[in-house]
């Protein structure tokens, strides 16, 4: 292979004149983490609401939630981001559309909303699976104790369901982090975008993408170990059998 490796490139000053390429990659990492955390928060809140509605005893709520899930999980994420970023402002009244377009952090906000909604559909489905896997006796017992519907969810179903779906939720969180890379298509300078621009300036392709790979891996491993800790803390002895 006729390739000139240069691992020192990370300490070279980038074209902006002030930061090294490493600084730029780390700035990208910060945007990646910020986007992922905000989007995940949104996905958890919305996903919980929709997941509960999916299993509710009210038929219209169930139907509405089903539609929500099917829309957001069946349209590709990239298309959703484009719709939010380029199409939505055109559908609004011109003044509102213009204000939205010229928001300072518009790509970041669009990425958070777009990614958050996409992931919320997945969270909702897992929560539904979690709730449905709880033996029906639990719901019946809660009703027998005189708990209202909301109390049943709050005190009986959700605490159990979330514990059951914690491992797949960890995967979804990891997916959220990795999916932030699609935000480069709407101009967010996150980690992948910074790696791409670094290779464009320096032509040191392998160094740039190796660094991005290592950073993604490091962040994801941190999340995995944190979630393991959470899982261990929340386990209810005797409910979910652990080896």
């Amino acid at each position: 292979m006729n390739y000139h490796w240069n691992w020192h490139i990370f300490w070279d000053v980038s074209p902006d004149g002030a930061n090294s390429y490493l600084d730029l990659l780390l700035q990208g990492l910060l945007w990646t983490v910020a986007t992922a955390l905000c989007a995940w928060l949104l996905a958890l809140v919305l996903g919980t609401c929709v997941g509960v509605a999916r299993t509710a005893r009210v038929a219209p709520a169930r139907r509405l939630a089903k539609w929500y899930v099917e829309v957001f999980r069946n349209v590709p994420l990239l298309v959703q981001l484009f719709l939010w970023y380029f199409v939505l402002p055109e559908l609004l009244p011109p003044a509102v559309g213009l204000w939205l377009k010229q928001l300072h952090y518009s790509s970041f906000l669009t990425a958070v909303v777009g990614l958050g909604l996409f992931m919320s559909a997945r969270v909702a489905e897992q929560l539904r699976a979690g709730i449905e896997s709880i033996p029906p006796g639990q719901r019946a017992a809660a009703t027998a104790l005189g708990l209202a519907g909301s109390q049943t969810y709050r005190h009986v179903l959700l605490p159990l369901a979330f514990r059951i779906i914690l491992p797949p939720l960890t995967s979804e969180f990891l997916n959220t982090i990795k999916n932030t890379s699609t935000a480069l298509t709407i101009g967010l300078l996150e980690l992948t975008a910074q790696a791409r621009s670094m290779q464009e300036f320096t032509f040191q392709v392998f160094e740039a993408f190796t660094a991005a790979t290592v950073l993604y891996l490091a962040v994801n491993l941190c999340v995995v170990s944190a979630m393991h800790y959470v899982e261990a803390r929340l386990v209810i002895p005797g409910f979910i059998v652990r080896k």
Binding site: N2, F86, K101, G187, A193, Q199, E200, F201, T202
Partner: protein, 301 residues
């Protein structure tokens, strides 16, 4: 028989090539052994290298590469040399060149100092300066008129870097919006997300010519930089191949065919929609044709 034909072949080769003291090395050796050469092309660098309406790669830079291929055929006496075409993107061109998949990259790659640490370039086939496009209705004619506005440029390009520098040195307070690619940057101007889009003027001309309403846009006279050279890219540390390519391109640019090819792609209707880019062959461009150079320094042209 093998030895004899090899000896005859080498002799014939020495007759054809001007300097043939040393045996073939690098890319030329590979071309001779495999009887094939692979050209890398871009899918949307109009008019340099792009796909036409039948998805066939065409373009100005690609035709220059075919001239180089003819020279290779002649000097290595390989009349049946197989020419393969391989698509590349801005992210894959370096790995594919480094690992030997492509031998020449025929597109619109800027020849600059940083990149020359990784690859080599032959004589420039085009020069372009960084300018901006805006809607006529926005009423911005100069760089200073962009003060306080939102301006897009493609992320990871030298153009966005120059925009950054101007923004800092002239205290313009521009909000810089990085776009993923040129089409998206232009879309930002089309949808009023940005007032202007900063890019190489030739690419802006192509985007405007292909837009829904070309009369709606204006390309600035003000430039963010001196005109920078575009050149065909080849592997570094391959002097034999580089000499052949330099020789072929220099002879071509100086011959009447050079300006003729230029007129074909820059002053006549081009596929797929028959637009005319209207680029004059004057100034730095004319000098680059008269005195071909592979320098990465814009001042050398």
């Amino acid at each position: 028989m093998g030895l004899r034909s090899l000896a005859v072949g080498t002799f014939a080769l020495c007759l054809a090539a001007t300097a043939c003291a040393e045996p073939l090395t690098g890319t030329l050796k590979k071309i001779k052994e495999t009887n094939s050469i692979t050209l890398g092309y871009r899918e949307s660098s109009i008019p340099f290298s792009y796909l036409d309406d039948q998805q066939r790669p065409i373009g100005y830079a690609l035709e220059i590469c075919y001239q180089i291929v003819d020279q290779v055929k002649k000097e290595l006496t390989l009349p049946n040399l197989e020419v393969r075409l391989n698509p590349v993107t801005s992210a894959t061109r370096i790995p594919l060149m480094a690992n030997g998949t492509i031998d020449l990259e025929c597109g619109s790659t800027t020849n600059n100092e940083e990149r020359r640490r990784q690859v080599d370039f032959t004589n420039a086939h085009f020069l372009t300066a960084s300018k901006f496009v805006a809607k006529k209705a926005a009423g911005v004619a100069t760089i200073d008129a962009l003060k306080g506005k939102s301006v897009a440029s493609t992320s990871g390009t030298t153009n966005i870097k120059q925009l950054n520098e101007f923004n800092a040195s002239r205290k313009l307070g521009i909000t810089i919006l990085p776009a993923k690619d040129h089409a998206e940057g232009f879309l930002m101007v089309e949808t009023d997300r940005a007032t202007a889009f900063v890019m190489d003027d030739i690419l802006l001309a192509g985007l405007v010519a292909n837009s829904k309403n070309p009369n709606e846009y204006i390309i600035s006279q003000d430039a963010f930089s001196l005109a920078e050279p575009y050149a065909i890219m080849l592997r570094r540390d391959d002097p034999q191949f580089k000499q052949l390519v330099d020789r072929a391109t220099a002879a071509f640019f100086k011959s009447p065919q050079g300006p003729k090819l230029f007129r074909k792609w820059f002053q006549s209707p081009i596929p797929p929609r028959g637009v005319v880019l209207n680029v004059a062959l004057d100034g730095v461009l004319k000098r680059a044709f008269e005195n071909p150079s592979d320098s990465s320094d814009p001042k050398a042209y």
